[in-house]
């Protein structure tokens, strides 16, 4: 409605504006487009458009045998590829009824937790930029993440796309100085987390910018199917590692970080606490992990075939529950593969979180659910 002299009376009759954000917007963490309906500076509606990064990884995996699929699982969640691989190989192991040697499981646990650390560092850096603390935390995060990626390169050979977990165990053994290297990395990581604590957590400007923004209640979060730190910040202490322990998480003493506020700051501080917990988990793993031992069952077939069946395996990835639903009709490839990615479910709550907030806050709400678009679109 265009304002005319007749309507220009006692109050302004303004028209809502549709504001396009993305898909190439720097703060959307990938190619994500959202159309904001704004009234002045206030967001009234959010229309998300996903699918710019859709590569059909699930469908591709149906044409590939179980080993070939691992590489594609890496690419569904590139910031925490070990966690994505883990779900996939665990699903194959459950279908084919393979028992994984103890040492391989400990190594998997350590690598997954390190990957959680590196992913959360990435979050801290990118979130800092979203909030407006320009490059300092990002470069700090990059520095710490680099140490972890260097370790991954020594172990798995690649810095992001590892293809290191195999159905049955690990592709090859870790280097002889693995434990010493992990301890070395943890030492620098502890300093790094402390730096972030000092830089952001107590900062008054950061707190006023993030506290009370993008609040979502526990009921709403559950209804949207959120998971991971995003739901734990709303007061639902849901953690697959605790609720349905896989690997050896039942032998490890750790706390589930949770907050009750449900705002952006809670999601941030939840991740901060989780990083300390990860460090604790890795330390305990290092003590319990045997130095030598098999990493694969003795008799693994050259080409793995599974009996018919279906299985759903879920693990706790840095962004939440990463599940693999796999149907096999016998043979060497899955009949159907479905990835339940945490980011897609978390993203659905974006509208609830950012309506009646300012435009600038909608950006940090999006940042606070730590979105990886390759996981949303797959």
């Amino acid at each position: 409605m265009v304002a005319s002299r007749e309507t220009y009376g006692t109050e302004f009759e303004t028209q809502d504006l549709l504001l396009n954000v993305g898909p190439q917007h720097p703060s959307t963490h990938g190619v994500f487009r959202m159309v904001l309906q704004v009234d002045g500076e206030v967001v009234k509606d959010v229309i998300p458009h996903i699918g710019y990064l859709h590569r059909g990884a699930e469908k591709l995996c149906e044409t590939m045998d179980f080993r070939q699929g691992i590489g594609f699982m890496d690419r569904t969640e590139y910031l925490a590829a070990f966690n994505a691989e883990l779900s996939y190989v665990m699903a194959v192991e459950a279908l084919a009824d393979i028992e994984v040697p103890e040492r391989a499981q400990w190594i998997r646990m350590i690598l997954c937790e390190l990957n959680r650390l590196s992913s959360h560092f990435m979050f801290m850096g990118a979130f800092g930029i979203d909030v407006g603390v320009f490059a300092t935390p990002f470069i700090y995060a990059w520095k710490e993440r680099e140490q972890i990626l260097d370790l991954f390169e020594e172990v798995a050979g690649d810095r992001m796309m590892y293809a290191y977990f195999r159905p049955g165990g690990l592709a090859w053994d870790v280097p002889h100085n693995f434990k010493a290297r992990v301890r070395e990395v943890l030492k620098s990581t502890r300093i790094g987390i402390n730096d972030f604590d000092g830089l952001l957590t107590k900062d008054e400007i950061f707190r006023t910018r993030t506290q009370g923004v993008g609040v979502i209640s526990a009921e709403e979060a559950i209804e949207w199917g959120m998971s991971g730190p995003s739901i734990r910040a709303s007061g639902v202490p849901m953690d697959v590692r605790k609720d349905e322990p896989y690997l050896f998480y039942d032998q490890i003493d750790f706390n589930v970080a949770s907050r009750t506020e449900g705002d952006v700051y809670a999601r941030y501080s939840c991740r901060m606490e989780e990083m300390w917990e990860s460090v604790r988990i890795i330390e305990q793993c290092l003590e319990k992990m045997p130095d030598y031992g098999p990493i694969m069952p003795e008799k693994m077939p050259r080409m793995l075939r599974t009996p018919p069946g279906e299985v759903y395996i879920r693990t706790e990835a840095p962004r939440g529950e990463y599940g693999i639903y796999m149907v096999s009709q016998g043979g060497n490839r899955p009949y159907r593969l479905k990835v339940r990615s945490a980011c897609l479910s978390n993203l659905q709550a974006l509208k609830d979180m950012s309506v009646n907030q300012y435009v600038a806050d909608a950006i940090i709400v999006l940042g606070s659910i730590d979105i990886v678009l390759s996981e949303v679109d797959r």
């Binding site: 590939m64 080993r67 070939q68 699929g69 691992i70 590489g71 594609f72 690419r75 040492r103 300092t136 700090y140 520095k143 680099e146 390169e153 020594e154 172990v155 798995a156 050979g157 690649d158 796309m161 293809a163 195999r166 049955g168 165990g169 690990l170 592709a171 090859w172 053994d173 870790v174 280097p175 002889h176 730096d195 000092g198 830089l199 952001l200 957590t201 107590k202 900062d203 008054e204 400007i205 950061f206 707190r207 130095d291 030598y292 031992g293 098999p294 990493i295 694969m296 693994m300």
Partner: protein
């Protein structure tokens, strides 16, 4: 104000630490032997021919179909008066580095240990102006191993580290 002061202090304290960056194009980081860049073919220095017999195993196992392999009869075979035991040998081999996703599967399925992932810096610095230049032919794939400039490492899948104490006891 305490929080802001603490942030400033954190930034100040990092001035005291050593720099973690490298002068990259000048200083290259030492790569671990496990490092994976792109696949290369290996050269058999004893008989002076490639290890690869063109058996298509890697081509079939490649998830992204980036390889093309053609084989031929080996003119250097024993029956023809040569000194090689390979009846067939690689004729033409192309790998499209633009498609390769460096998953290491070709190395694992190879029966002759004829292919390995490049773990030197040449594998990481492969920028070209035209993406067609990323398709490597047999000569390009072999040249690095032929010159002995590869830190050869072919992993055995599922093999665990040997316990030095147990080896000594035996």
């Amino acid at each position: 104000m305490n929080g802001i002061a603490r942030s400033m202090l954190t930034t100040l304290s990092t001035f005291m630490r050593k720099p973690v960056t490298r002068d990259y194009p000048v200083v290259h980081k030492e790569l671990p032997k496990t490092d994976r860049a792109f696949p290369l073919l290996l050269w058999d220095h004893e008989i002076d021919e490639p290890f690869c017999t063109g058996c298509h195993a890697c081509e079939r196992a490649c998830p992204v179909e980036c390889m093309t392999v053609l084989m031929k009869d080996n003119p250097n075979h024993k029956s023809l008066g040569g000194d090689s035991s390979r009846r067939k040998i690689i004729d033409k081999f192309w790998i499209d580095y633009g498609r390769c996703m460096r998953c290491n599967i070709c190395v694992e399925v190879c029966n002759f240990e004829a292919i390995a992932m490049n773990n030197t810096w040449t594998g990481h610095e492969t920028s070209v102006y035209d993406r067609r230049d990323l398709t490597m032919d047999l000569q390009q794939l072999l040249s690095q191993s032929r010159a002995g400039k590869i830190n050869e490492w072919v992993p055995v899948i599922g093999q665990a580290n040997e316990d030095p104490a147990a080896v000594k006891a035996e």
